[in-house]
Structures are given as structure tokens and as C-alpha cells.
Symmetry: C2
Subunit: 279 residues, 2 copies
């Protein structure tokens, strides 16, 4: 079969590259750098960037001639389902933060991975830079497991085959860091379970409990608790989670789980979910 839109796909790589560049560089990238990273001709990249910046998807700094992600992205992103959900979740996340004094997140499952859409930081929190927009592996986070638990066994099997071995961070990010800054940090890939059967058992426990706990599996020293958010069709559409340093929870996993569950339930009813006890 002939590929009819490979040009578009190639041009979109420019956005990908800029997206990851944003995390490591400041002031954006020049035409040459982008051409290297995408392995394309600099002349062509120059033209592509002209088009992209005239649409506002990328932003051109006329002084330095460097490009970065543009304002149009922001304006479009606010029209997505994800943004809508994030907006609605704010009050409930604030409630949870008030109760726990810890940072709270709203996450959704997209493409087999966990996308954090909204973060509310606790007043005491050190790191201000949010996790918003960050994508993580679903198997090793509490949020991911809570949302996977809402799927049917066949769907979970599909996920297992495709995404169980995902790197915690997306592929292009490591591909990009390599040529730019030669930090060869070993990403320790921790599998959520030995095999599918073991993983299904974990998910069944999550279903029974009503929330999931990840004890340092995603970030060492951080206990992650998450509970499912359901919409009016009673389908799991998101997860509310909170990450707490281990020394602050001790072994009080259950009370943390209860708090997160409560916030998730309240948000679910906000969305019109039927009020039923745990099946």
C-alpha cells in the first residue's frame, strides 16, 4: 500500500521535537538543530517552520530566530475533552489537597499511557513546576492501574501485549536527549508484574479495594494512591491521585486510599455518575 500522508507525518515530527526540546532547552531551537534531529533538509525545515508559525502552532523569536511551541496549541488544547475534565476537577482536587496537605493530580489514560492533566500543589510543596502534560507508563503508576482495572480482560490483555514493557518516559524523549546532552542515565525498567495473569490478579485487588497504591514503583520513595473517576455512563474516565513521600505516610495506606476514593467519588457525582456502592 502506498503511504498518502507521510509528508504530514514527517512535518509533525517537528512539533514532537520542539515538544521535547522545551524540557531541556530554553529559548527554543534553530532551523539547523531541528533539521538534524528530524534528519531532514534545513531548507525544507525552514519552510515547514514558516507554515507552522503562520498558523501559530510554533512561535518564532524574531531576534534569535529560534522556534518553540506556539500559543495556538494552548488555545486548541483548552478545547479538548482533557482540558474540560481538568477544569471541572479543580475544586475536588483542592479539597483533597486541603485534607492531605499533599499534591494531587488528575490523570487520564491515553494511548496506553497515563497523561497528567491537572496538578494542584500543596502549599508546603517544594517543586513548583507541575506534572501537567506529562506522560508516564500505566503499569507502574497507581493511576494507571486504577484505570486499567476499569477495562475488560480482553482489553487489558491487548494493553499488556502492547504497553506493559513501555519505558517510563516516551521513546522520543530519550532519542532526543542523546544527541543533545550526552547523559547516559540508565532507565531502570520495572515491570508491573511477572506475567499477565499476575497483573490481572493485581487489578482484581484494585477493583475490590476501590483504589490502588503504588509503593515507590514509579518514583522511588513516593507512595502513590489513586482512585477511579466515573462519568454519567459509569465508565472510568480518569483517576485522581496523590503522591506522598514514604516517610510521611508510614503504613497508613488505607486512610490515604480512603481520602483519594472520597475525592474521586465526589468528582464522579459532579459528572453525573450514578451513585452506587462498590459492586
Amino acid at each position: 500500500m502506498r503511504n498518502h500522508t507521510s509528508g504530514l507525518a514527517r512535518d509533525l515530527e517537528v512539533l514532537e521535537v520542539l515538544s521535547f526540546a522545551e524540557a531541556f532547552t530554553s529559548g527554543g531551537l534553530g532551523v539547523n538543530r531541528i533539521a538534524e534531529l528530524t534528519e531532514r533538509d534545513k531548507g525544507q525545515i525552514s519552510r515547514v517552520l514558516k507554515t507552522l508559525s503562520s498558523s501559530g502552532l510554533v512561535d518564532r523569536d524574531d531576534k534569535t530566530r529560534r522556534y518553540s511551541l506556539g500559543p495556538r496549541l494552548y488555545s486548541m488544547a483548552m478545547r479538548t475533552k482533557e482540558a474540560h475534565l481538568a477544569l471541572l476537577s479543580e475544586p475536588r482536587l483542592f479539597e483533597l489537597v486541603a485534607q492531605t496537605q499533599e499534591t494531587a493530580h488528575l490523570n487520564v489514560l491515553r494511548g496506553g499511557r497515563v497523561l497528567t492533566t491537572k496538578t494542584v500543589v500543596a502549599a508546603q510543596a517544594l517543586r513548583r513546576s507541575g506534572w501537567d502534560g506529562i506522560v508516564s507508563a500505566a503499569g507502574s503508576t497507581a493511576s494507571g492501574r486504577v484505570m486499567l482495572a476499569g477495562l475488560s480482560d480482553e482489553e487489558i490483555e491487548l494493553w499488556w501485549l502492547e504497553h506493559a514493557q513501555d519505558d517510563p518516559l516516551p521513546a522520543l524523549q530519550t532519542a532526543f536527549t542523546k544527541p543533545l546532552e550526552p547523559i547516559n542515565r540508565k532507565v531502570k525498567r520495572q515491570l508491573p508484574a511477572k506475567n499477565l495473569k499476575a497483573f490481572l490478579k493485581i487489578l482484581q485487588e484494585v477493583r475490590d479495594l476501590g483504589y490502588a497504591i503504588s509503593d515507590g514503583e514509579f518514583q522511588p520513595g513516593i507512595v502513590d494512591a489513586a482512585a477511579p473517576v466515573r462519568d454519567s455512563s459509569n465508565i472510568i474516565v480518569a483517576a485522581i491521585s496523590t503522591g506522598v513521600p514514604k516517610e510521611r505516610v508510614g503504613s497508613q495506606f488505607d486512610s490515604l486510599g480512603q481520602l483519594v476514593s472520597g475525592a474521586a467519588l465526589r468528582f464522579s457525582t459532579d459528572l453525573g455518575a450514578p451513585i452506587i456502592g462498590p459492586a
Copy 2:
């Protein structure tokens, strides 16, 4: 000169259409509808959408076969300068809301128009759907005037020539509403001033005062107050604003202006702006 990326530009129109569709439809658009709106072949649109959805920029509902803006947009948008600023502004916007009991916004000036990046609604507010991501004409909003006042006279003249007559809403939106819902609402185009000289005088007043007031010019019955936010180079990078129903302000314009100025100043120092009195 021959155009080397008109294909890309055409394909990006698909995103534009979806972006505006989001406001009027729910559940997204089908291939045929998008083909109509972009005046392209449905076969080609089908292929373009396949590419766009494999990159996550659009989202495909496998059941209904309808497309809407995708999660990747959200994740990219969170890496933009605009998102960064919006995140940092949150605490200051909350402070302002606590003081005024009215909804507060953070706005930036992009492409001659005002882009609202963050909205914090007051507890009493009726409408929950935010203004985030909405683009408005710069001349008739307080935020726009505050930010234009930070430019040099030549830059303002350039803006006047290109954008003074802008519709309050972007062009494609009206173009899109026409075929979809035949509401022929007349957009009353209200010029900010009769001519450039008069407008420059208005901006000078804004500079002297330190804030701008728009008395129902943007939305009838709403008094809009805005003050400039400066970064570490003392350049105006955004505006904090608040919109108050006229009956609740009365003629207390100045005290409202002072509150907004205070919030904007505090946020400016957060960003590392030099602390100097109004020149």
C-alpha cells in the same frame, strides 16, 4: 515563488475546523463534515485524519467514527511559555479573587489579539465554563490596552493598521458557524477609538494610571479592569484582569484598578521584575 508547504497548511486547516467545532458540537465531526468544511476530498481527509490521530493530535472515537481534538495537544500545550506563565499566576489570581469576589484572568498578547490563558472563577460565579484559550480583539478589552501600552509608538501604529478593525471573534469561527447553524447574528464592530492619534492618547492615560478600564466595550454590562505583568527584563508579558458586572462596581473604578494593579505587581515580582515605582 512557488509554495513549498501548502499541503501542510491545508492539512492544518483540519485542526482549525475541529478547534472551532468543539465549541458548537459534541462528539466531534465525521470525515464527510470535515471534508465539506475544508473543501477537500473525503478520501484524502480520511487519510489525513489517520495520520493526525496516530500522532495523537486528534482523537478518534472508534464507535461513532468521529474525530475531535486529541490529548497530544494538551500535553504539548503544557510545555508552552503560555502554560508556564499560567501555572505561576495561579496563586496571585486566587488572591485577587479572594479580594474582589469576582472572576480573574491572566491574558497574553499574541498575534495582535488577546489570549486568555488562565481563569479563576469566583465561588459565586454562575458560569463555570472558562474563558481559557479564548482569543479576543485587543483594542476593546482592558487587557489588550494594557499590553499595547507597553509597546513603542511604532509598534502600536503597526498594530493599529493590522488589527484595529479585527472582529471580536476570529474569522474562521464565523465562517464555520454559517454552514453549521444559520444564526446570522450581527457582530457589532466597535472601534476602540476614532483614529490612531486618539488611541495613542488612550494608551498614554493607561500608562499614567497603571491600569486600564473598559466600561462595557467588550461585553455589555461588564466592567473590565486590567494591569500589566512584567518579567525580569521589565517587559510587559501579560495582563491580569477581572470582569465585574456593572451594578456591582458602581463608579468605584479606581479601587478596582488598585486591586488589580496590586495583584499584577505581586505577580511581576514573582517573575523577578525589578521593583520600581510607576515611572
